[in-house]
């Protein structure tokens, strides 16, 4: 009797899950199908959408636009900011976790202060600063503020705090200095945390909108999120071409996601549980 009830409610749950999943995936399927239709077709009539004709001409057409430049820029800026941040953050985190010196706590809190300040609240003075440094519309204007975020320092410091000190002490007795202990013990033991942080930072960089939108003005320098709306605004009421552009621009991130899903999930739980 009870078994049957449980089985029934499980069936309902399954049905509900499938319904939710259908709703969630529908917009993406729609984007992909619409991008394969001839230009100016009515892509909201569902029969037309699944019946032919299909074509790749939209993809050929947008390949002639600057979309490849934008994707290259996004990729380049994402990789440089992420690598730079991961190296600097892990070094700073090591100094805040393992090395002992006076006023360490004060320095830690001083860095934490920046965690509470959203970029959105300092865009105007940052913009003025970039104008003064003549850095507007350069890659440096995107990379430098990305390196200044203390999020990674905080996450890695928490992680380093959990590494057993006996390992470092043993290495010290063998004559290892701070650099060797860092490179041979702390970094290898936190490889997965560093990797998760890296994926997470890359995701943030790839999707960053407001700041690049303000500082990157020439279309050659733009990233995907900034270039796409500009491209779309040239398309008028045609839905098909922008859908192709949107999908093409999403492919790299979808691949990263499918390959590194576990790391992204780990990155999220790290922020949550430790934050």
């Amino acid at each position: 009797m009870k078994r049957g009830k449980i089985r029934l409610s499980r069936k309902f749950l399954y049905l509900f899950a499938i319904l939710c999943a259908a709703v969630w995936v529908a917009p993406i399927i729609w984007m992909i199908l619409a991008s394969l239709k001839p230009q100016n077709s009515a892509v909201t009539i569902l029969e037309n959408l699944v019946k032919g004709p299909f074509t790749l001409e939209n993809y050929v057409e947008i390949s002639k636009s600057e979309i490849w430049t934008w994707m290259k820029n996004s990729l380049l800026l994402g990789i440089i900011s992420t690598l730079g941040a991961v190296v600097m953050d892990s070094m700073a985190a090591y100094a805040l976790s393992y090395i002992e010196y006076p006023r360490k706590k004060l320095i830690f809190w001083f860095i934490m202060l920046g965690m509470m300040v959203p970029v959105e609240a300092e865009i105007i003075p940052l913009y003025q600063e970039m104008v003064e440094l003549r850095l507007t519309n350069t890659y440096a204007s995107i990379i430098l503020p990305a390196l200044a975020g203390p999020f990674g320092v905080f996450i890695l410091k928490q992680f380093y705090d959990g590494i057993p000190r006996e390992l470092a002490e043993a290495a010290k007795i063998d004559g290892a200095g701070y650099l060797r202990i860092f490179l041979n013990i702390f970094v290898p033991l936190s490889k997965s945390a560093i990797f998760a942080l890296g994926i997470f930072l890359f995701l943030g960089s790839w999707n960053n909108f407001l700041w690049p939108f303000l500082t990157l003005t020439s279309s050659k320098k733009m990233t995907v999120p900034i270039g796409l709306p500009m491209f779309n605004s040239l398309m008028g009421s045609d839905m098909v071409m922008p859908m192709a552009a949107a999908f093409l621009a999403s492919v790299p991130m979808m691949i990263v996601f499918l390959l590194f899903q576990k790391h992204i999930i780990k990155g999220i739980t790290m922020t949550g549980i430790k934050g």
Partner: protein, 297 residues
């Protein structure tokens, strides 16, 4: 002993130096500069004249400032609970261990990695009248009139929140899932032996077990929602009229359309102070939790 101390200090400085340099130049300096600029009138050539609290006075008398504040708070009030409930619901689906669990997780999380420009674009075409996907579907089901999802001020926030949930719920879902997996399996078994139903188990085991994580997500979500800009900027351009223009959006307009950098910066400072208050609350709750854990441990 002192030699060792000196060595420690030197090592610490070397390890901290790269991060601290960019941190001071591109995080701390702009914050400090912002506080000063908010007290200045800024000319087009960026020359500043000190004007005291003038910018703040202008803002407090500006009905668009209060509207942007109200809009942002509406978004926070609607978005936070919906994102939490949706996240919990999806996490519970995943936690049930259904067949094809990985597929469900992938599907629910996928929109999170899409660029907001892409998300905004898809949703614009789902929600627009006459040729949008949603209205076409509703017409098919027999609806006669056109629903103005983005132009009707009674519906527009619902539309914005729907898009936010679709694209952002993955984050909360993963957090809740981690929380659910921490709950002791034996508690459910014991409750089942005592004859507890699904609802009782949810009410007396699941919810209390998720208390901490829910609190954390609530604060993180509130802070994130306060920074609303891209979602409405791309989906509604702040419209209809200025009905969905957020604080950050108004900062942008003041600075780059109206060229009032001083007033825009004053608004940034106000936003900053609000965020610091939230962060202080978050820290307070976090340390209370730690204290409790320490007492139990």
């Amino acid at each position: 002993m002192t030699a060792k101390k000196g060595r420690n200090l030197r090592a610490a400085i070397l390890f901290l130096l790269p991060f601290m340099t960019v941190y001071l130049l591109f995080m701390i300096y702009p914050i400090g500069k912002g506080f000063y600029t908010s007290l200045c009138e800024v000319k087009l050539d960026f020359s500043q004249t000190y004007v005291g609290a003038e910018n703040y006075k202008t803002l407090f008398g500006d009905k668009f400032f209060w509207q942007s504040m109200k809009n942002t708070l509406i978004y926070v009030a609607l978005n936070t609970p919906v994102l939490i409930i949706a996240g919990l619901l999806l996490a519970m689906i995943l936690n049930a261990g259904l067949r094809g669990n990985v597929v469900f997780r992938t599907v629910f999380f996928l929109p999170y990695v899409l660029s907001i420009s892409v998300v905004g674009y898809i949703w614009k075409f789902i929600l627009q009248p006459y040729s949008g996907l949603l209205n076409s579907l509703l017409h098919r089901l027999g609806m006669q009139n056109e629903i103005m999802w983005l132009q009707d001020e009674r519906l527009v926030w619902g539309s914005v929140v729907a898009m936010t949930v679709w694209s952002g719920v993955g984050f909360n879902m993963i957090m809740f899932l981690a929380g659910l997996q921490e709950i002791d399996e034996n508690l459910y078994e014991a409750a089942e032996i005592d004859g507890a139903g699904i609802w009782a188990k949810f009410r007396y085991i699941t919810l209390p077990g998720l208390k901490n994580i829910t609190l954390m997500i609530t604060i993180m979500q509130t802070i994130a929602s306060m920074k609303l800009f891209t979602h409405t900027f791309i989906l509604t351009k702040g419209g209809p009229g200025t009905q969905t223009r957020s604080i950050v959006h108004y900062i942008y307009v003041k600075a780059f359309t109206e060229n009032k950098l001083g007033t825009a910066t004053a608004m940034s400072v106000i936003l900053l102070v609000i965020m610091l208050i939230f962060a202080a609350v978050q820290h307070r709750i976090g340390s209370e939790r730690e204290d409790k854990e320490r007492m139990v441990g």
